[in-house]
Symmetry: C2
């Protein structure tokens, strides 16, 4: 095993070339392909080429929201940290995570639910267009689905990629059967890193390709 | 697909039961098994049961460092964010990430290296025992290896789980062939979430089992 000599600035480009090569002949629409490639870049897991699902024009809806200066709401501080602040700044967008907020903890305790679910209630009070990115808690998606059904929130895009073993598959299928535009990872896999990577794939389309 | 009704506090316990069941008869030492299970919990990827590698007594070395109030150095803010602050506080430990520091950016530029590599140079100046947790940049591991060879840093434990396609496998093999205690993910897979999960698995052994 030898080292590959490469300039720091070229590492990402080279990585994407390798991913492209290994994806081979899989036919993916270009808008979605960039998202899939970035998720594989962040996970080294080619399974996402099969499991990432997009509702019609989901990527376009996400890009339109970012062009309008939307708020991205995440269900973990880790996902929030992973989203490019520089790219958000260029577009006049912002990212928020309510998980550490005292009012969210109090509401979750009072209702016997999770803090992640209570975050979705808090997201209903945001002004302007919203993208919801869930990389951890299926309870957030289940509550989001209820709130959408009740007409209390209408996200421009739902990024539904929680990871895990309890109600994760169920929660993602709920979102995929719903009316909101979504990007979802079918099955158990996902994570805060995947949620952040999808957000960054969309952000970079608007800030790097220009 | 139906919902599984479960109290928020029981979700993690139930997830670990499912992981335990699906791991089946795989014979793993208990100290290492808890780390492997938490990595699978965070990724839903059972491949880590095969690919996570531990040097002799690596877990014990990590626990000893945490008991001494060590500093955990990460190569991404995302990994840093994912490490339990509450558990660190209980043990008098701390976590740091130098990636956003101006002096690190300046040094990387001057030397034509990555900021992640420059972070390892900065870590040499820390006082007290150190755990290095790399979830992203192979260049950090390669520089760390050089610094260890030069006797400039002697980490209590190296968590070597960068993800990706360029020099990632090489960098991990370098660490696995070295003298420092390590926990590494053989192959391309890993990530900031994996680095944080390994740190948390160690932290929870000392703060939850008590």
């Amino acid at each position: 095993m030898k080292i590959e000599h490469i300039l720091p600035a070229d590492i990402e480009r080279r990585s994407m070339e390798i991913i492209e090569e290994e994806l081979g002949e899989i036919c993916l629409p270009p808008m979605e392909k960039d998202v899939i490639k970035r998720v594989i870049h962040t996970s080294a897991d080619f399974e996402y080429a099969r499991t990432l699902r997009f509702s019609d024009a989901a990527v376009e809806r996400g890009l339109a929201a970012l062009r309008q200066g939307c708020t991205i709401v995440t269900d973990t501080n880790m996902a929030c940290t992973g989203i490019s602040q520089a790219a958000l700044d260029k577009l006049g967008c912002r990212k928020v995570c309510f998980m550490a907020d005292a009012d969210v903890a109090a509401e979750a305790k009072a209702k016997g639910t999770t803090r992640a679910a209570a975050c979705m209630d808090k997201a209903c009070r945001l002004e302007g267009p919203v993208i919801i990115a869930v990389g951890n808690a299926p309870t957030a998606l289940i509550r989001l689905h209820e709130l959408m059904e009740q007409g209390k929130i209408r996200p421009e895009l739902v990024i539904a990629v929680p990871v895990g073993f309890v109600n994760v598959v169920y929660a993602k299928e709920l979102i995929m059967a719903g009316r909101a535009p979504y990007i979802a990872a079918k099955g158990r896999k996902g994570g805060s890193n995947i949620a952040a990577a999808i957000c960054n794939a969309l952000l970079y389309k608007l800030t790097r390709d220009a």
